[in-house]
């Protein structure tokens, strides 16, 4: 695959095929297998399930592209995927929900004042930190004093407003609401939110050695989640935000459309099934556009001088530094870009769900599973990351029915009410964790370059 053989060159001459055709052929076969698996679900279980799987696969693919940008291009271990995805979700709420005027009147000013005080405190701190460098230990005390004073002032400004906002019709709103803009815009804002957070995180954590970076980002993502969970004035916290507007038509409206009636008589479908399939298809189309755009952008970046520089930095930081490349700022740049992609995917996920539930963000599902996708797919290869997103999400969902089927098959010799059989069937859902772990371990051991390995350029 590294160097095209003579045979391959001849073929390229005749059919005008790309030089790395054998690798492409293998990728095509893998993609076809994935498509076959999805349609198998369609035939055996239901097409509705197959299309919701497809939608989640597309979102997972975008998330794993984001991680691949950080890990595959630059070797940065970001264990804070969950936090950035959740920030994208927050963007969906803040962009699309209608504002709550009563809440703004009750406490908008106080919150604004508090945030300004907080911002000023941080600015003073950064200024002091830089100015008081020569003062030794005194610097820490000075910073501590500023933090205490600034924090107390901020709390004095914010606390009454928070109480006032949360008292505004707590069962329905109890938060400030959003801007009431179309939800598709939030995908952009999700990227921006995540990018802004990544800038802060990157400035803090990128200087650390690789496994410290992982722990620091993991911790920071937990802090982000805690804020989203407990700052009710912003996100309604554990009360969740339901009924986000949709970028696609509603099933109920579709069911009344005349043209759909015609289609279902031709294809012999029920109206409910047809409308829900159509909605899922619309989502899939939107997601596909985003996915292809991101792939196109990152592939062209990777092929260009920028990609060469990133690989040089990843493979030998010292040498790249000696060549005059600014390693720190490149790392920060690539960290921001990758996080922005994750944020976009996070906003898309909340759009698809139609609700924002802070408690649903678990590191296992939103950080470590995405990592499995990248490693299994092939780190450093965008198509690999996409395939990994598809395959891993597919098995994350399908491991449960497959596991149940396997257990039922294996224990079919036992009597139906045997305690072991019942216990195994009851806990079949947990086979997905074991499967994912085994897939990750086996990939790392026997095919560390993944399903679609990085192309040597």
């Amino acid at each position: 695959m590294n160097r095209p053989s003579e045979n391959a060159l001849a073929r390229q001459h005749i059919f005008n095929l790309p030089a790395d055709w054998p690798a492409h052929r293998r990728n095509l076969v893998l993609a076809c297998i994935m498509a076959l698996m999805l349609s198998f679900v369609g035939f055996v279980q239901s097409w509705n399930l197959a299309f919701s799987l497809l939608n989640m696969c597309l979102i997972s693919a975008i998330m794993s592209l984001g991680v691949n940008i950080q890990w595959g291009y630059a070797g940065l271990f970001n264990a804070g995927v969950m936090g950035f995805a959740a920030l994208g979700g927050l963007a969906a709420v803040l962009v699309s929900m209608d504002p709550v005027p009563a809440a703004w009147a009750a406490g908008g000013g106080g919150i604004g004042l508090g945030l300004v005080i907080g911002f000023v405190t941080i600015c003073i701190n950064i200024y002091l930190w830089k100015r008081a460098r020569s003062n030794g230990k005194k610097r820490y005390w000075l910073i501590g004093l500023v933090v205490v004073v600034g924090y107390s002032l901020m709390r004095l400004a914010i606390d009454p407003s928070v109480a006032a906002i949360e008292a505004v019709d707590p069962a329905m709103t109890g938060y400030l609401g959003g801007l009431g803009l179309p939800i598709v815009l939030s995908w952009l804002f999700g990227g921006l939110f995540a990018a802004a957070a990544a800038w802060v995180v990157g400035r803090i954590a990128l200087g650390l050695r690789s496994d410290y970076l992982a722990i620091a980002t993991l911790g920071i993502s937990e802090i982000i989640l805690y804020v989203l969970k407990f700052e009710d004035w912003l996100t309604r916290g554990v009360k969740n935000v339901n009924g986000l507007p949709r970028p696609v038509p509603y099933e109920v409206d579709l069911q009344e459309a005349a043209w759909l009636q015609e289609i279902i008589t031709q294809f012999n479908l029920s109206i409910i099934e047809a409308s829900s399939l159509l909605v899922k298809l619309c989502y899939a189309g939107l997601f596909l556009i985003v996915l292809l755009t991101i792939i196109w952008l990152s592939e062209s970046a990777l092929r260009g001088p920028w990609g060469r520089m990133m690989r040089a930095i990843r493979d030998n930081e010292v040498a790249a530094n000696a060549m005059g490349k600014n390693v720190t700022s490149r790392h920060l740049q690539v960290f921001i870009l990758g996080s922005a992609v994750i944020g976009i995917a996070g906003a898309m996920l909340v759009t698809l769900d139609g609700q924002f539930t802070p408690t649903s963000y678990q590191p296992l599902r939103f950080t470590f599973l995405i990592w499995v996708m990248v490693i299994v797919g092939g780190s450093g290869n965008n198509w690999g990351a996409v395939l990994g997103g598809f395959v891993v999400w597919f098995f994350w969902i399908e491991a449960e029915p497959i596991g149940l089927w396997l257990i039922t098959l294996l224990t079919s010799g036992m009597e139906p009410a045997h305690w072991l059989r019942l216990h195994l069937i009851e806990n079949a859902a947990h086979t997905r964790l074991i499967t994912m772990g085994l897939v990750l371990l086996l990939t790392l051991r026997f095919a560390p370059r993944g399903l679609i390995p990085e192309v040597k350029r």
Binding site: G75, F77, Y140, D159, I204, A205, L208, R209, S210, D211, Y212, A214, I215, A216, L218, G219, I220, E222, I223, Y226, K229, F230, P363, L364, F368, W371, V372, I375, E426, N427, H430, T431, R432, L433, I434, T435, M436, G437, L438, L440, L441, L444, R445
Partner: protein
């Protein structure tokens, strides 16, 4: 006098005693993380699940002991079952090392590869645990609930504030003290312990002086697994056993190890208590204390809480981030940074 004693009792009851117990649990966990880091050179993300596994075996053994009617009341049966839990997690760790980690050691893999491998291990053990015992909450503490009840203390001392000591808290602190003392004796006094420290300090030099690396690695896993099982069981006794919790416990444990200085056993213990006490100090509502000292309503009717209790867990991450920023080597400068 009572004006001073009452707030003191309040602080002891709500900060000192829970902090000592939680700190001991974190310290035991962090000690395990730090040992693996010092000898095997990687951050073991699966440590939380190893703790959970040890606790699970202990619980299953407890149920078995209860079913044959064995008990050491007023102490919880789990203490009797703990050796079995330790054995269980030791065999798990040795098996893992043989099947998974040894390969990467021979490859001399980088620390990030190890990290990803340990994430895979975390998935597998987590799945196994849920498969065996299910994801539900379990309370397996069948001993006496309290060593000292709040009401008894009030009657004894005549103060208006109560002081309660849960027996699980006392057991935690005493067990942790014994285990830590044994570990330090082992590391500083025995030949094997010294060879372990030598290996952690400089692998090549240790190999040259005839230390058997396989033996050192094996012993490290045995100690780590034992510590994990004890820590996991104590945490489960004190709070209640829930598989998901142990995944979230990994971060405070890492925070404790890093705050103290990764690779330094003494640092791990100090770090555990630093994390535990700062969590409690920052989320405690000082309203009542202030009321005793300065009179009711001196500071208005606020709770006088620095952070809301919701952020209890987040405190450890904040400390972690601050330490990584200001002094990444930790309080007792850890190794290899």
């Amino acid at each position: 006098m009572e004006m001073l004693l009452n707030p003191l009792v309040l602080l002891v009851n709500f900060i000192l005693i829970p902090g000592l117990a939680y700190g001991s649990q974190l310290a035991l966990g962090a000690l395990g993380v730090t040992m693996v880091y010092a000898v095997l050179n990687f951050s073991n993300f699966s440590h939380g699940e190893i703790m959970s596994f040890g606790a699970m075996v202990t619980i299953l053994a407890t149920y078995w002991l209860q079913s044959i009617g064995l008990s050491i009341s007023p102490l919880p049966t789990a203490l009797l079952a703990l050796p079995l839990g330790i054995l269980g997690s030791i065999s798990l760790c040795l098996l893992l090392d043989r099947l998974v980690f040894r390969f990467y050691r021979q490859q001399r893999a980088g620390s990030v590869t190890y990290l990803i491998v340990s994430i895979g291990v975390m998935f597998v053990i987590g799945g196994l645990i849920r498969f065996i015992i299910g994801p539900d909450d379990r309370n397996f503490n069948d001993g006496d609930r309290f060593l000292l009840k709040a009401r008894e203390f009030k009657e004894m001392s005549g103060l208006s504030e109560g002081l309660a000591i849960k027996s699980s808290q006392a057991i935690t602190v005493i067990t942790a003290f014994i285990v830590v003392a044994a570990i330090f004796w082992f590391l500083n006094r025995t030949r094997t312990g010294k060879s372990m420290r030598a290996y952690a300090d400089n692998q090549d030099l240790a190999l040259l002086s005839g230390i058997n690396p396989d033996r050192v690695v094996r012993i490290t896993w045995v100690i780590t697994a034992g510590l994990a099982a004890v820590a996991g069981t104590l945490y489960g006794l004190d709070k209640s056993y829930k598989p998901l919790v142990y995944l979230h416990l990994v971060l405070p444990i890492f925070a404790a190890a890093i705050v103290g200085g990764v690779g330094n056993p003494l640092g791990a213990i100090v770090g555990g208590f630093v994390i535990a006490f700062s969590e409690l100090l920052l989320t405690f509502a000082y309203k009542k204390v202030a009321a005793y000292l300065f009179g009711e309503g001196f500071f208005g009717d606020g709770l006088l809480q620095i952070l809301s209790t919701d952020y209890k867990f987040a405190v450890s991450f904040m400390i972690l981030v601050v330490v990584l920023l200001v002094k990444p080597t930790g309080i007792f400068s850890g190794k290899s940074l």
